[in-house]
Symmetry: C2
Subunit: 244 residues, 2 copies
DNA sequence: GGCCCCGGATTCATCGGAGGAATCGGTGCA
DNA sequence: TGCACCGATTCCTCCGATGAATCCGGGGCC
C-alpha cells in the first residue's frame, strides 16, 4: 500500500490535515486509546507519508486541542480524553470574544448552570454542601468589611458556582461552564457590574441556591439559580431580547 | 524591547505556546480584528522571537481552532471569529468520544435545544416555519414507504433540529448543538435506536414541536422538545441517573 | 478603451538535516 | 541497598532550499 495512496478522498487536504485525520482514525479505530503512546515522530511521519515538520504541525494542533500530550525526552501520548480536557481549548476561543458578544454566551451559561443546580439538589454530597457553606461564609465576611475586597469576592463567587456545576454530575456541563464562565470571562463580567449592592444581591442569591440544595429541592434550586443568572444577565450590554 | 524579554512570566512555555499567546494578545489587544491580515511568516517570527518552523506550528494550531485562516500564495488572516466557526473544533473532539460517553453529551444537547425551542416560538420566521413544515412532510413520506430509507429520515431529522436551534437566535446555542449533535454523533445515535417505531415516534414528537412553534407557545415548545429528547436519551446506553 | 494572457513577485507549503534539551534506564560504585 | 553517572532515546528548535498558489502589473490584441 502506498503511504498516502488510499486517501485521495478529499482533495485540498493539507499534509497537516492528513496528520490530524490520521491520528483521529487511529483513536476512533481503537488502535490508540487514552494514555497510549504514539510512534516516534520519524516512524509516524513515514507511516502517514509526510515530513517530520508537517507531522509536528499536526501533532501540535492536536496538543492544543487537548487530544495529545507531548513530553520532551519521553514521547507523545493520548490524553485521558476527558470532556474537561477537551473543552479547555474552548475557553481560549471564548476569551477571544469581546464584551459585545457576552450575552449569548451568558445565556448558555445560565441554562447549563440551572440544569446543573437541579441535578445537584438530588446528588450533592454532604462534603460539597459543607464546602459551599464555608465559601458563602467567607464571601459574607468579605462583604462585611468597610472596603470590599472585590478580588476575594470574585474568588468566592467562582468557587460557589464551580461546586454547584460540578455536583450536577455531568462532566460535559462542568467543562462547558468552566470554559464559558472561566477566569477571563468572569473578570470581564464583574468589571461591568458597577451597580450599587451587586455583591450583596449576589450573596443573597447564592444563599437561596444553597438552601434549596441543602433541602434537596431540585425545582427550587433551578428557579433560584436561573433567577440569579438572569439578574446578572440583565446588567450585560447588548440587545435585550434573549429571553421571553 | 527585547523580542521575548517581557514574557518570562510563565516558564515552561514552548515556543509554539508563545506564538499562540502572542497572536491571542494581538487580537484581544485590538491590534488584529476579524478579517485582518497577519504579517508574513518571516516578520511575525522575528517579532515573536521564534523560528519560522515554530511560528508555523502555532499558526497551524490556531487554524485548527478556527481562529486563523491561511491561504497559500496570499497570506494569513483572522477569521470572522463567529461562535459557529470557533465551535467547529469542538465537533472534532466530541466525535472522538465513543458511544459510552454519549449520555452526558446528549443531556447537554437536550437542555440547549429545549431552550432554543422556547426562544424560537417567539421569533421564528414564517419562512423557517414553512421550511420546517416541508421537512416534516418529507420525513412523513419517507415513513410511508414499505422499506424505510433510514438515511433520508436521519437527514430530515437533522434538518428539523437545525432549523429549531437556529431560530432560537442564540448563535452560541446553535454552534454548540451543531458540535454536539453533529453528523458523527447523530449517526451513532440512530445506529443504537433499533426499537420498533422509533422513527414514527420521532415524527410525532417533531410535529408536536412544530405546532407549538406555529402557535408561538414557548412553554409548549419547551415541553415538547424536552420530552422528545428525553425519549431519545432513555434509549442510550450507560448509567441512567442523569435526570431527576 | 477594454479585455485577455502571461510572467515576475509575493507568500504560504513542504521537505531534509543539524544540534540542543529533557527524560529514561542501565551500570558501576560505595 | 542506595546513589551518582552516562549513554540512548525522544521531542524541541532552528536553518536553508524548493515547490505551489495567488496576486498584480505589463503588454498585446480586438
Amino acid at each position: 500500500m502506498h503511504p498516502r495512496g488510499n486517501w485521495a478522498i478529499i482533495q485540498g487536504m493539507s499534509r497537516t490535515d492528513e496528520v490530524v485525520d490520521g491520528v483521529r482514525r487511529m483513536i476512533t479505530g481503537g488502535e490508540l486509546g487514552p494514555g497510549d503512546r504514539l510512534p516516534v515522530e520519524k516512524d509516524l511521519a513515514d507511516r502517514l507519508g509526510v515530513s517530520r515538520g508537517s507531522l509536528r504541525e499536526g501533532v501540535r494542533a492536536l496538543t492544543v486541542l487537548g487530544v495529545l500530550d507531548t513530553r520532551q525526552g519521553d514521547g507523545t501520548y493520548v490524553t485521558s480524553l476527558d470532556p474537561a480536557r477537551l473543552m479547555s481549548s474552548l475557553q481560549f476561543v471564548v476569551d477571544l470574544h469581546g464584551d459585545t458578544s457576552a450575552r449569548p454566551f451568558h445565556a448558555v451559561r445560565r441554562v447549563l448552570e440551572t440544569e446543573a443546580a437541579g441535578l445537584a439538589a438530588h446528588r450533592i454530597t454532604p462534603a460539597a454542601l459543607e464546602e459551599a457553606r464555608v465559601v458563602l461564609e467567607q464571601a459574607a465576611s468579605t462583604l462585611a468589611q468597610d472596603e470590599i475586597d472585590h478580588a476575594a469576592f470574585i474568588e468566592a463567587d467562582t468557587a460557589f458556582h464551580r461546586i454547584v456545576a460540578d455536583q450536577g454530575g455531568n462532566p460535559v456541563i462542568t467543562a462547558l461552564v468552566e470554559a464559558i464562565a472561566g477566569r477571563t470571562a468572569r473578570e470581564r463580567l464583574w468589571r461591568g457590574l458597577h451597580e450599587e449592592g451587586a455583591e450583596a444581591r449576589t450573596q443573597r442569591d447564592h444563599e437561596a441556591v444553597w438552601r434549596a440544595l441543602a433541602t434537596g429541592d431540585a425545582e427550587a434550586a433551578r428557579v433560584r439559580m436561573a433567577a440569579h443568572l438572569l439578574d446578572v444577565e440583565e446588567t450585560l450590554p447588548g440587545p435585550e431580547a434573549t429571553e421571553d
